[in-house]
Symmetry: C2
Subunit: 250 residues, 2 copies
């Protein structure tokens, strides 16, 4: 199934961007009258006919709307320090979108090696993955945000807040090891009474979160979780956290 993407929707009509029009008309050789499907990025799948092709833009007439298209049965927001090698971060954006995620925030940490993320490029990767994997809803992508600012902004989030870090022997101010539970166990506890699965997960940079950042997160209600014994790269850790949610709801 081929799905186009457009968020220019009004009065029963959808307009395709020049890029999407080229793909539709030049590559797939669709003509006026053909039936096509469009993801609106708003959770809807629109069944349409092509009503007009003029120049670089195609106009479609909506026949029917399928709601909650490609929806996943959980809410997940991952805040992750983008990797030094941007390909690895973009790989995560693609895979997480493909699997199912609601929001992604790149975070700037004390040990971050990457201090810049191009928002346009981030959005392009996510939209391409959403289209390819037939998602009706496009995950929200935020600009690069200092980690403490992010933590403070989600203080009142209604759901589970988790922080993943590598070093297993972090000691708190009282001299005790900070305990961690496996992320799968955290998810089970959250949904034990039949509650909806709603999570924010923090994933640190290659050099891990600083102790100060972990304490800041813990003070804001983030629960330290473990992703197991394997030494995972940042982007693998972020996808593992995503798949822990996806697989839990299978």
């Amino acid at each position: 199934m081929e799905v186009f993407y457009s968020n220019t929707i009004a009065d029963g009509k959808i307009r395709l961007s020049p890029e999407e029009t080229t793909h539709c008309v030049k590559v797939l050789r669709h003509k006026v009258g053909d039936e096509v499907k469009v993801s609106g990025g708003d959770g809807n799948l629109y069944r349409c006919t092509i009503s007009d092709i003029s120049g670089k833009s195609a106009e479609l007439s909506i026949i029917s709307i399928e709601g909650e298209f490609g929806k996943h049965p959980y809410y997940l927001h991952i805040a992750v320090a983008p990797t030094k090698n941007i390909d690895r971060y973009e790989w995560f954006l693609e895979k997480a979108t493909e699997v199912g995620i609601d929001a992604i925030t790149p975070i700037l940490c004390a040990h971050s090696e990457r201090k810049v993320v191009k928002e346009e490029r981030q959005e392009r990767v996510i939209i391409a993955a959403a289209k390819q994997s037939l998602k009706g809803e496009i995950p929200a992508a935020a600009p690069l945000t200092p980690v403490k600012e992010f933590i403070d902004s989600v203080r009142n989030f209604d759901g589970g807040k988790y922080i993943c870090y590598c070093d297993s022997e972090l000691i708190n101010a009282e001299g005790n090891a900070i305990p961690r539970i496996p992320i799968t166990e955290a998810i089970r506890r959250q949904t034990a009474d039949g509650a909806e699965l709603r999570s924010i997960v923090l994933i640190g940079p290659e050099g891990d979160f600083s102790l100060d950042e972990i304490h800041h997160a813990a003070a804001a209600g983030f629960i330290p979780v473990s992703l197991g014994e394997s030494r995972l790269r940042t982007e693998t850790a972020a996808l593992t956290a995503t798949l822990a949610h996806y697989l839990h709801c299978l």
Copy 2:
């Protein structure tokens, strides 16, 4: 922790390849007498001192051996049709090794677009990932194998055998839909009585398995499993199956 890799081990001595020697001596500037760690690819981590550096090769003396290094608590063999874009397949090799896998067999299917896999390159990607993620054991990588030949060769495997395919409305010879269970449920059933988790998972090409291949697998005891509602690319499906095993054992 920096870990070198060598499988040239005899009489309490380890010899590093020219490539590993360059990394050890030129990049990391180690000298005779320095202590280094070596993964033998045999499940052991060797603590050594550098006893000799001559020309392109370094000789190390073993001080102590740590067994079952970086071991994961399950056995997993994934047989997957390599993707047309080889980067996507190699990405899977890297990520699966990082997470924990025992064997990978690239398979040739009726709908395969890729009909060649360079074995040397496949091995290089796996070894690099095993080193980076501190695995003592290097996953076994087989040459490209016709899928039915592969299915026949594992007929007597002691564990769960699973096949993932996309189309949910496949009909068997009797006109009934072939039922599928979620992979997480298959894993739970396999381990319900405390049995060790041991699996072989078949992942098809971009064009999916043919009905003939699915029937061949079913006749050999493969259980049809589902990876959920998301439309996953081949390499994402293969990693999702890997993480289903990893996360189950967390």
